[in-house]
């Protein structure tokens, strides 16, 4: 006995399906008027199609992997860097929409960035590689940290560059705040093996992560 051939159904991309559904749902149709007669033949969206559109988005949403954040904290004690034994200074900077603290000992200098035209972009580089910039007689690789860490969209409003690794790399940032003088007890230090190795810990009551410049430099290399 012959079975019917299975006809494949092409589903559009989830985001496309969702934005198509949104366009339809939020279409600015005229006010409802119970007395008005419909003269134009209307094109009905079949219930099956609308169902598929909604489910396409729902399925994708359901299928997103649930990241286990349990691994953020390993059951071992944090190891403090040498510079954190006494008081130390941190610079709080804004990168994209987020604030980060950077230990001053990890910074070579801070350079103003007047515009992207100061940067020479190099083809074939990863997305975080914004280009190279001439700085103190050598070339500095300018890095979008948010893109490197996959935490946020590319920064569009950079005004400063935090120069690290003896002038080899520069991290773009939007604005700078006054440096803070803190001691080890002001930080919730990350445990060894924490998933986000690019941060050394969180500033207590400051809602910002303390960047681990050494680990970030290792990633760049």
């Amino acid at each position: 006995m012959k079975s019917k051939p299975v006809v494949p159904i092409a589903l559009v991309e989830a985001d496309q399906a969702f934005s198509g559904l949104l366009d339809t749902l939020l279409a600015d149709v005229p006010e409802y008027d119970a007395t008005a007669e419909i003269t134009e033949p209307s094109i009905e969206v079949s219930p099956q199609i609308s169902e598929v559109l909604v489910e396409a988005e729902l399925n994708i949403v359901e299928l997103q992997p649930i990241q286990s954040t349990e691994t953020l904290v390993a059951e071992t004690s944090p190891v403090l860097p040498d510079w954190a034994k006494g008081e130390f200074k941190l610079l709080v900077v804004k990168m994209g929409e987020m604030r980060f603290a950077v230990p001053l000992v990890g910074l070579s200098s801070i350079a103003p960035l007047k515009g992207d035209d100061e940067l020479t972009s190099i083809p074939g580089q990863p997305a975080w590689h914004k280009g190279v910039m001439s700085y103190r007689d050598s070339n500095l690789v300018v890095v979008d940290l948010g893109v490197l860490l996959d935490t946020q969209e590319a920064e569009e409003e950079s005004t400063y560059i935090l120069v690290i690794d003896e002038g080899r790399y520069g991290l773009t940032c939007r604005s700078l705040e006054e440096p803070l003088t803190l001691s080890a007890s002001d930080i919730n230090w990350s445990k060894p093996g924490a998933r986000r190795d690019w941060m050394s810990g969180m500033l207590k009551d400051q809602m910002c992560a303390l960047l681990n410049i050494e680990k970030i430099t290792q990633r760049l290399k």
């Binding site: 749902l25 939020l26 008027d33 219930p47 649930i66 953020l72 809602m207 992560a209």
Partner: protein, 259 residues
């Protein structure tokens, strides 16, 4: 009139409690407040002792009228809650079928927006309690509101629900005339547990721009208020949770967070 939508694409994070708590406080402050329940589970409706399985008129009637090309009459759907100045348009279980039976979808996403507009002169605040599922109801609520309030249980999996919500907001923003303003509200916070503290730290790290500075504590008085069918502010104005919701409301009204 201000319209606030309370939503998260994860269930059990405190949406209904947040709706009732804020609604009760607004009413206590003399502001005429309407809560609209569009969650087919009808938790908000049940809170006030109405049965979402057997109501003749509900928020479902709004969608039904629009689908039948009739003008909805929101006034006829308003129920009392027993608290002066706090009214309710209840939910019906039939809301769950909307996504499957809405044959003609054009404009069906604007039903709640038009309902709020029709009640413009009647209320100072409209609070919409949403289902945790992305579909016509949630899209309606997001299209109608001036501000989205996202309760997030201070627990790891709940934070994932917030990521989904953020993606939805990004998509909705493309269809709205203005960007959707939203405020993330940590709930079920238990300062003695590590999970609560760690989750709050993650929220502060990743969502600082939209995060309310406080956190609603776990408080058995909330459950007792629900059992009594009273908004927390009327049940026990001195409870810790009410103090916390009061702070939240003050900052929302001053538009301090998530702007």
């Amino acid at each position: 009139m201000k319209v606030w939508t309370i939503a998260n694409q994860k269930g059990g994070v405190g949406k209904t409690t947040t709706t009732v708590a804020l609604g009760g406080l607004l009413a206590a402050w003399g502001l005429r407040t309407l809560m609209i329940d569009v969650d087919p589970h009808g938790s908000l409706t049940s809170y006030f002792r109405y049965d979402p399985d057997s109501l003749d008129e509900s928020s479902y009637s709004l969608f039904r009228s629009v689908a039948e090309k009739k003008s909805p009459d929101p006034q006829s759907l308003i129920y009392q809650t027993g608290t002066e100045g706090l009214d309710l348009i209840p939910a019906a279980v039939a809301l769950a079928t909307l996504d499957r039976q809405s044959g003609r979808l054009e404009g069906m996403g604007l039903v709640l927006k038009r309902t709020a507009e029709a009640l413009q002169s009647e209320y100072d605040y409209v609070l919409i309690d949403c289902p945790p599922v992305l579909g016509i109801l949630l899209i309606n609520a997001l299209a109608a509101c001036d501000r989205l309030i996202i309760p997030v249980q201070t627990e790891f999996l709940a934070i994932k629900g917030l990521e989904r919500m953020k993606h939805t907001i990004e998509m909705i923003d493309k269809s709205r005339p203005s960007r959707l303003q939203y405020t993330v509200v940590p709930t079920f916070f238990d300062k003695r547990t590590r999970a609560s503290n760690d989750s709050l730290a993650i929220l502060r790290r990743n969502h600082a721009e939209h995060l309310w500075g406080g956190a609603v504590p776990i408080d058995t008085r909330l459950r007792e208020a629900s059992r009594a069918g009273l908004p927390p502010a009327m049940f026990d104005p001195s409870s810790r949770a009410v103090a916390s919701y009061t702070e939240l409301l003050e900052s929302l009204m001053q538009e301090k967070v998530g702007t």
